[in-house]
């Protein structure tokens, strides 16, 4: 039986997609009889989602806010599995900026957020996840993101590290391992440790999820179920046998020093989801989040934009691949 082909549109590379790397690296995708092709969209999440809407890719993986925005404009894609339920983009400040703002003396999240005042912070792209996160934090700190600090969209991790290393920006926002490099190699400090839930507004925030067109989901239910099953199994392995999972991640990051990768890995372990299903709360947080950073509230039917049907099916006992089914089931 030929493996079922499946294409995933992924906006960037980073640890916010960790379960995808793990499931591929550990061979679970192949175990499920899937031939997964991951396409990286260097020009951002909007392009990635567009390819799903246009039927070029099957599944979008990334911040749910992006498909929600599209839904509000009439292009429906349904969220069907959660991969990360914490904010995965960290804000890293340079040692100098941390000293200047006396970051170590600040206690509450709001106080820490206020430290952004007057700083120049690099984000990935205008309107990207990282842009929105920095804006959200700034607002939380009582700042006007357009006046009280400078947010500079700067593209990918390489650009950020280049600007950060040269002192051209005071900080940046991106997921591990880019954030880890700033900390480990350039002596930076995390403004807020999202992984430890240090920032309440984004606690239990649905950060990375899979989404696809409802028609596709209806027609390819089996394939979706198998993918979710492989991802669940990967998360389980990461939790129970971290060293095996860590080893499977390595080949995806040949250019990152092992020490940096280890640090990133350790930090990421703290934010592993316990299950792949979603609730309205995580979605509403996305809508709230967008409403706060853009002064407009998305008009979407919360109950319709996501479905747990696939996750539930994946959790149900199946004849094939007993073990993953059991593991997923235990999470129920």
């Amino acid at each position: 039986e030929a493996p079922a082909r499946l294409t995933i549109a992924q906006p960037s590379e980073g640890f916010l997609y960790l379960p995808i790397y793990a499931a591929r690296g550990l061979g679970y995708v192949q175990d499920e009889g899937l031939d997964v092709e991951v396409t990286i969209f260097g020009k951002g999440a909007a392009a990635a989602l567009t390819s799903v809407i246009g039927g070029e890719s099957d599944i979008y993986v990334g911040l749910p806010a992006v498909p929600l925005q599209a839904w509000a404009k009439g292009q429906k894609t349904q969220l069907f599995a959660a991969l990360l339920k914490q904010c995965g983009s960290d804000i890293v400040l340079s040692a100098e900026a941390a000293r200047r703002t006396r970051l170590s003396e600040r206690r509450t999240p709001a106080e820490k957020a206020e430290a952004l005042r007057g700083l120049k912070i690099a984000v990935a792209g205008a309107g990207s996840i990282t842009d929105l996160v920095v804006r959200h934090v700034a607002i939380h700190g009582g700042l006007d993101p357009d006046r009280d600090l400078t947010i500079i969209p700067i593209g990918g991790g390489g650009n950020m590290i280049a600007a950060f290393g040269q002192g051209r920006v005071d900080g940046y926002c991106l997921s591990a391992p880019t954030s880890t490099i700033g900390v480990v190699k350039f002596g930076g400090t995390l403004l807020l440790d999202f992984a430890k839930g240090e920032y309440p507004p984004l606690r239990d925030f649905l950060f990375t999820a899979l989404s696809a067109r409802p028609e596709w989901l209806a027609a390819n239910r089996g394939v979706a179920v198998r993918l979710v099953r492989a991802l669940g199994r990967a998360i389980e392995t990461m939790r129970t046998r971290p060293e095996a999972a860590r080893a499977a991640i390595g080949p995806f990051y040949p250019g990152v020093e092992p020490a940096v990768l280890d640090a990133a890995w350790t930090q990421a372990m703290g934010s592993l989801p316990t299950s792949l299903d979603m609730d309205a709360g995580g979605i509403v947080k996305n809508i709230d989040f967008l409403a706060e950073v853009r002064s407009a509230r998305l008009d979407v039917p919360v109950a319709e934009v996501f479905t747990n049907a696939i996750v539930n099916l994946a959790a149900a006992p199946s004849t094939r691949h007993q073990e993953p089914a059991r593991e997923a089931g235990r999470k129920e």
Partner: protein, 255 residues
Amino acid sequence: MIIALYRILFLAAFLAIWEVASNAFDAGFFISRPSLVAASFLTMIANGSFFYNLSITATEAALGFLFGAIFGVGVGLLLGRLKVLADILDPFLITFYSLPKVALAPLFILWFGIGIDMKVILAAVTVFFLVFLNTYTGVRSVSPEQIAILRLMGAGERALIAKVIVPSALTWVFTGLRLSVPYALIGAIVGEIIAANRGIGYVLSDAAAQFDTAAVFAALIGIVVLSLIFNGIVRFAERALMPWKAGEDTREISI
């Protein structure tokens, strides 16, 4: 006159098809529609963000164009006159030209920062080669007879360049310049997409991230208008510097 009329007809037809297609295929999400774009455009103009951002991009592109053009013409003249040097440098110039600037973004940031310099340099680098290669070819195409004639009159290299090479290569140079007008803009915009929090490139990527297609097209209108203005300036300079071509289209040829 008749030409302007046809242009307007063409534009109107295009807009009509756009509007109709957008409705017919329910494709507003992807291609917006002229009416929405116009509305978005007017909003941008009203709140001042259009001209603010456009002026930033225009400055970057204009500076980049200027530097790129000056170096392009200069190096083109130099290498056009020193064939051996040109032969030696040829593969390196191609190498330099072939490197995708997008891939070199981190290096650009490293060397030139994230301010206006970086965008100017990016635009200038893009312009440089287009102008250079056209100028070079133009200089190499100068009639050797005319050079010999001037030489015999005692012309030194400076007189040669001023009196024969530049006038003769001018059509080439201006073609290079016209080719690079859009690239100056694209260079500046790519620079803004790489790293910026203002400029029309920023407006563009911000709008794209929000699926605000109407705003994307409104920003594109700004870019196109800039491009047409720059192009007009280049054409004007071309006409002013080549008086002998005036009326060439209408002149009766005698053979």
